[in-house]
């Protein structure tokens, strides 16, 4: 057999991509797939983008909105689904903040900044209920970790967080006031919509098509193992950053919910539907010129 083909990956150190790769290695899935995976762990998601643009990595994890934007700006990147995991509005007493009207005049933390897609979805959801959250709630942007801490301190009434932080907040007794999955449905998606995916250049896809296919299959296997095999999850439980089993179980529940299940075509349709909503709220700043999703961004194996 020929030598294993090399794929260079940039991962975010605390993210789920890392868990999956660890499991894949532990179970020898990479060797089985004939792949040599060279991973660069980075501290932030943005660092991955530097890696890809600078040519330091073949595949990174990012969201399709960004890919759509880059394509609009002339960088024809490709995207393949990884996870549907979305965050939620977390609060000490979740029941008190279940509708948009409940958030009016409240101090709402928003992780990821004004162009974060969860936040845009939440705004669209609010507008449907006749509430302009951006102006009617007291918005505090900040780093997700800092906002989680501030919510715990009681400085915020509620916070829109990424799902990994939602899980940690749940271990501290906070609950989901508004789940973004419900928001998506409310806005016209049929099932949980893809959020993150593998991003790479067409040149790489053309060069390494078969290896890429084997890579995706391998990742799917790893995801399945984490979701279903307790022994596999035990191997990476330490990477969740939570010390106790109860917390880890919560994270795993979130993780499981994020594993994509739909066929690619229905994912694309849902994404296109949401894109219109996002484009309207986020404006050209977010999406560039296009108002329709450029569906060619979704990679289909040749």
């Amino acid at each position: 057999a020929s030598a294993a083909e090399k794929i260079r990956l940039a991962t975010q150190a605390t993210g789920t991509f890392g868990w999956e790769l660890a499991v894949a290695r532990a179970y020898g899935l990479d060797k089985a797939a004939g792949l040599e995976l060279e991973t660069t762990e980075l501290a932030t998601t943005e660092a991955g983008k530097i890696a890809l643009v600078g040519g330091g990595a073949d595949i990174i994890l990012s969201d399709w909105l960004w890919v759509a934007r880059e394509r609009g700006l002339g960088q024809p990147l490709l995207f393949f689904p990884h996870s549907t995991g979305l965050g939620a509005v977390m609060a000490k007493e979740p029941a008190k903040f279940s509708s948009a009207a409940d958030l009016v005049g409240k101090k709402l933390g928003v992780a990821g900044g004004p162009l974060d897609k969860s936040w845009l979805l939440l705004q669209a959801w609010g507008l449907k209920q006749g509430v302009d959250l951006k102006s009617q709630a007291n918005i505090v942007y900040g780093a997700p970790a800092l906002l989680a801490e501030k919510l715990a301190q009681g400085e915020l009434d509620a916070a829109l967080e990424f799902w990994t932080f939602c899980a940690r907040l749940e271990t501290k007794g906070f609950g989901r006031a508004v789940d973004l999955i419900d928001v998506e449905k409310d806005l016209g998606a049929k099932s949980p919509v893809i959020v993150t995916g593998y991003v790479f250049t067409p040149a790489f896809a053309a060069r390494q098509g078969p290896a890429l296919a084997r890579f995706f299959t391998m990742m799917k296997q790893a995801k399945k193992l984490i979701a279903e095999d307790d022994a596999a999850f035990a191997k990476i439980a330490g990477m969740t950053g939570l010390p106790d089993a109860a917390g880890q179980a919560i994270v795993r529940r979130y993780y499981r919910a994020g594993v994509p299940t739909d066929a690619l075509d229905s994912e694309v349709a849902d994404a296109a539907a949401l894109y219109k909503v996002l484009a309207k709220i986020g404006g050209p700043q977010l999406v560039g010129g296009a108002t329709e999703l450029d569906q060619a961004l979704f990679y289909r194996a040749p």
Partner: protein
């Protein structure tokens, strides 16, 4: 004027670099300028730039005044210096991230915590520089001022300040740049506006033209300030150095 020529050269080099590297690795000046114009028209640029400038000025003033005062005291009183030096070294080397996070955690996500974090980050630098200045003061002139019973104010303005001027210049030039950089991080981590906040967004989108459009106005401002304020002021203040030939 030679400075204009030098700036032109810089723009040329930039343009040339952009053409060789491609717009994805380095956006061309025109592209950045267009992005800037868009942001200005939308009102985002004036607002955020203004806020950032205010934070820079406030943080800088606070840190320079307090830092210089302490630096001078430490430079002139070795006993005090021995006592406070370890604290200073700690303050100097504590990463900005830690200071900013702690400030936000203790003081809340608000403007006052932000300003405190900014000032605290710059403060030890000013202390260190001015302390060196104070140590290098000429005791002969001090004695002269003592004998002729100079008032505190005259001693400060006419004897000490001119000797410290180069240290102030170094602390101020380096310090303004440092404060501006810290303000960016402070805004990135916990403010809903300002250039740092906007640059964080641009960074998330990996939008280099937007990033540069927000990064460069302050740079341009400093070039202007250097050309029309700092340089001429220094030239006249330093006449005596040129020994008239």
């Amino acid at each position: 004027m030679i400075r204009l020529f030098s700036l032109g050269l810089f723009l040329l080099a930039w343009q040339f670099g952009a053409m060789t590297l491609g717009p994805h690795h380095l956006p061309a000046p025109a592209q950045v300028a267009a992005t800037f114009a868009d942001e200005w028209r939308s009102g985002d640029m004036p607002l955020n730039l203004g806020l950032t400038l205010m934070r820079v000025l406030a943080g800088f003033t606070l840190a320079m005044i307090a830092g210089s005062a302490l630096g001078l005291a430490l430079g002139r009183k070795p006993a005090l210096d021995r006592l406070l030096d370890p604290w200073l070294v700690i303050a100097l080397n504590t990463p900005a991230l830690v200071v900013i996070i702690l400030a936000y955690v203790w003081g809340g996500l608000n403007e006052i915590s932000a300003l405190a974090a900014i000032a605290l980050n710059k403060f030890p630098n000013a202390v260190v520089t001015l302390r060196e200045g104070a140590r290098a003061l000429d005791p002969a002139l001090d004695e002269m001022a003592e004998v002729f019973a100079f008032s505190r104010w005259r001693r400060w303005r006419d004897v000490l300040l001119p000797q410290l001027a180069p240290y102030f210049a170094a602390a101020a030039r380096g310090g303004l740049a440092l404060v501006w950089k810290i303000v960016l991080v402070v805004e990135l981590l916990g403010r809903p506006n300002g250039v740092g906040f906007k640059m964080g967004m641009a960074f998330q989108l990996f939008d280099l033209p937007l990033l540069l459009a927000y990064a460069l106005p302050f740079v341009a401002l400093m070039v202007v300030a250097e050309t029309f304020v700092l340089r001429p002021a220094e030239r006249s203040a330093n006449w005596w150095r040129r020994h008239g030939d």
